[in-house]
C-alpha cells in the first residue's frame, strides 16, 4: 500500500466574495494519477491554484512529504511567446540548464536537437506542449500539476501528450494532478478521479467505481452517456 502524500480537509475557496469550492475532503496517495474532473466553472483550476498556494483558501492542506512541484498552467502555449525572440534553448536557459541537459530532457518527450534553435513561439501546438513537459521535468519534480495540458493541441496530438505523460508518470514514479473536462482521459489514464460540480457534493475514488451515470449526470447537470471498453 502506498503512503499518503496529501490530505485535504474542510477545504473552501472564496474569490471576490463568491464561494467557488466548499466541503472538499480527499486524500491523495503517492503515485496516484488523479484527474480533477468537472464542467467549466466548477473550480478545477481554482483548486489547483489553491493547492499550489497561488490563491488563498480555508481549511487544511497537509503535505506529508515536502513535494517538489512541476506545473503546466492552463493557457500557456506557443502564442504566449510568439512575439519574443526566444528559442527552445533560451526557454531552458531560463532554468539555467546546460545544452546537454536540455537535450536529455527533450529526448524524454520525443524531441531532438533540431528544435533547439527554433523559435519557441513557432513550434506546433503539440511540440510546444511536449517542450513544456520537458521543461517542467527539468526541475526533477515528484508531483506534477497539469491544467488542461492538451487544449491547444488537436485530438491525435492530445492523445500523444497523454501517452507520454502516462509513461513519464510510471517511469519516474510521479504523483499527477491532472485537470480536464474530458471523460475519455479519466477512464484511459487515471487511477483516481475527483469530480467537482456546481450542483452536488464532490466525489472521489477510482473512476469505474464512482463515475456512475447518475453521478455524471449530477456533475454535468445534464444526461451524459459514456461507454467504457
Amino acid at each position: 500500500m502506498s503512503d499518503v502524500l496529501l490530505e485535504v480537509k474542510n477545504f473552501r475557496v472564496a474569490l471576490e466574495g463568491s464561494l467557488v469550492l466548499s466541503d472538499l475532503n480527499f486524500t491523495v496517495e503517492e503515485g496516484e494519477f488523479l484527474t480533477i474532473l468537472g464542467p467549466n466553472g466548477s473550480g478545477k483550476t481554482v483548486l489547483v491554484k489553491a493547492l499550489l498556494g497561488l490563491v488563498p483558501y480555508e481549511g487544511v492542506v497537509n503535505w506529508h512529504k515536502k513535494p517538489q512541484i512541476g506545473y503546466l498552467p492552463q493557457g500557456l502555449n506557443q502564442m504566449s511567446v510568439r512575439d519574443m525572440p526566444l528559442t527552445v534553448k533560451d526557454f531552458f536557459t531560463l532554468k539555467k540548464l546546460k545544452t546537454h541537459e536540455v537535450l536529455n530532457y527533450l529526448s524524454l518527450v520525443g524531441l531532438d536537437k533540431s528544435v533547439l534553435n527554433k523559435r519557441a513561439g513557432y513550434l506546433s501546438g503539440g511540440e510546444f506542449q511536449r517542450m513544456l513537459v520537458a521543461w517542467v521535468l527539468a526541475t526533477r519534480p515528484n508531483v506534477l500539476f497539469l491544467d488542461e495540458p492538451t487544449t491547444a493541441v488537436d485530438i491525435a496530438g492530445g492523445e500523444t501528450i497523454y501517452s507520454l505523460l502516462r509513461n513519464i508518470w510510471r517511469e519516474q514514479k510521479l504523483t499527477v494532478f491532472n485537470v480536464t473536462h474530458d471523460l475519455n482521459i479519466v477512464f484511459a489514464h487515471s487511477t483516481h478521479v475527483l469530480c467537482l460540480s456546481r450542483f452536488r457534493h464532490p466525489c472521489y475514488g477510482v473512476p469505474k467505481e464512482v463515475l456512475t451515470p447518475e453521478v455524471l449526470s449530477d456533475v454535468y447537470g445534464a444526461d451524459v452517456k459514456f461507454h467504457t471498453h
Binding site: 499550489l52 497561488l54 511567446v81 512575439d83 519574443m84
Partner: protein, 255 residues
C-alpha cells in the same frame, strides 16, 4: 574633442545602453508605454531642479518613484487599462510641471540637455547605468519567466514581488537618468525603440539584448555628436537616430 563633449558622450552611452537593455524586458512585459507617463511625471521634479539649480535627474527621481507607486496603486484600485492610466498620469504630470516651470527653461525639462551635463551627473550615470545593467542581467531569466507566465514563475520558486520591485526600481532609475538625456517627453522612446529594433533582427534572447544595447549606444553617440556639430538639441537627435535604425531593421525583420 572637448571635455564637455566627452562627459556628454559617456553619460549618453551609459544611460542609453542600460535603458535599451531594460527596454527588452519592458517590451516583453508590454510595459514600454509605462516609461512615457513616468517621464512626464518626472517633469515637475525636473522643473524644480531647473528653478533651484540642481541635477535634473536628482529632481526627477522622487517624482518617478511616486509615479511608479501611483500607477501600481491605480491599476490595482481601478482595474483601468494601462492606456487610460497613461493618459491620466501624462496630463497630471505635464499640468503640474507647467504651473511652476519657467518657460525659458522648459526646453531642458521637455527634451533634455545632455550637452551641459556635469562631472557629478556623469559619474552618477556611469555608476547607476552599470548597476541597472548588472541587476537586470542577473535577474533576466526570472523577470522573463514572470513576463511569460507569473503563476509558472511562482511555482518555480521565484519571488515575483521581489523581482517586480527590482524591475520597477530599475525603471525608476533609468527614467530619472533618461530625463537628462532626452527629456521628460521622450523617455518611452529611449527604452522602446532600441528594443523594438532589436526584436526585428533577433532570433535569440542573447541577440535581442546585444542588438538593443548596440542600437541605444549608437543612437546616443550619433545623436550627441550631430547635436554638437549642428547646434540642434541632442535629445531629439538621439531619438530620431534610433527611429531611423528601427526603420532600417523593419526591412530586415525576422519572424
Amino acid at each position: 574633442m572637448t571635455y564637455q563633449l566627452v562627459l556628454s558622450l559617456i553619460s549618453g552611452v551609459f544611460i542609453a545602453g542600460a535603458a535599451a537593455y531594460l527596454g527588452t524586458l519592458m517590451l516583453s512585459k508590454k510595459m514600454a508605454v509605462v516609461a512615457g507617463p513616468l517621464g512626464h511625471l518626472a517633469l515637475p521634479g525636473a522643473a524644480l531642479a531647473l528653478v533651484y539649480g540642481f541635477s535634473i535627474s536628482l529632481g526627477a527621481f522622487p517624482f518617478v518613484v511616486v509615479g511608479i507607486l501611483l500607477i501600481w496603486l491605480l491599476e490595482i484600485r481601478t482595474k483601468l487599462q494601462m492606456e487610460a492610466l497613461t493618459a491620466i498620469v501624462f496630463a497630471t504630470g505635464v499640468a503640474a510641471a507647467f504651473l511652476f516651470l519657467p518657460i525659458d527653461k522648459a526646453q531642458a525639462a521637455l527634451i533634455g540637455d545632455i550637452s551641459k551635463v556635469g562631472i557629478h551627473a556623469t559619474v552618477a550615470a556611469v555608476v547607476l547605468g552599470t548597476i541597472v545593467f548588472i541587476a537586470i542581467n542577473r535577474s533576466y531569466p526570472e523577470i522573463m519567466l514572470i513576463s511569460i507566465h507569473e503563476d509558472l514563475a511562482k511555482t518555480e520558486g521565484i519571488n515575483v514581488k521581489l523581482y517586480n520591485l527590482l524591475y520597477l526600481s530599475a525603471i525608476a532609475i533609468i527614467v530619472a537618468l533618461g530625463v537628462d538625456l532626452v527629456g521628460g517627453l521622450m523617455t518611452a522612446a529611449l527604452v522602446a525603440i532600441p528594443a523594438a529594433a532589436a526584436r526585428n533582427v533577433s532570433r535569440t534572447l542573447a541577440q535581442y539584448g546585444l542588438a538593443a544595447g548596440a542600437c541605444g549606444i549608437i543612437s546616443s553617440i550619433i545623436g550627441i555628436l550631430s547635436a554638437t556639430f549642428s547646434g540642434l538639441p541632442a535629445g531629439p537627435l538621439v531619438i530620431l537616430t534610433s527611429g531611423f535604425i528601427f526603420l532600417v531593421t523593419v526591412t530586415m525583420a525576422k519572424v
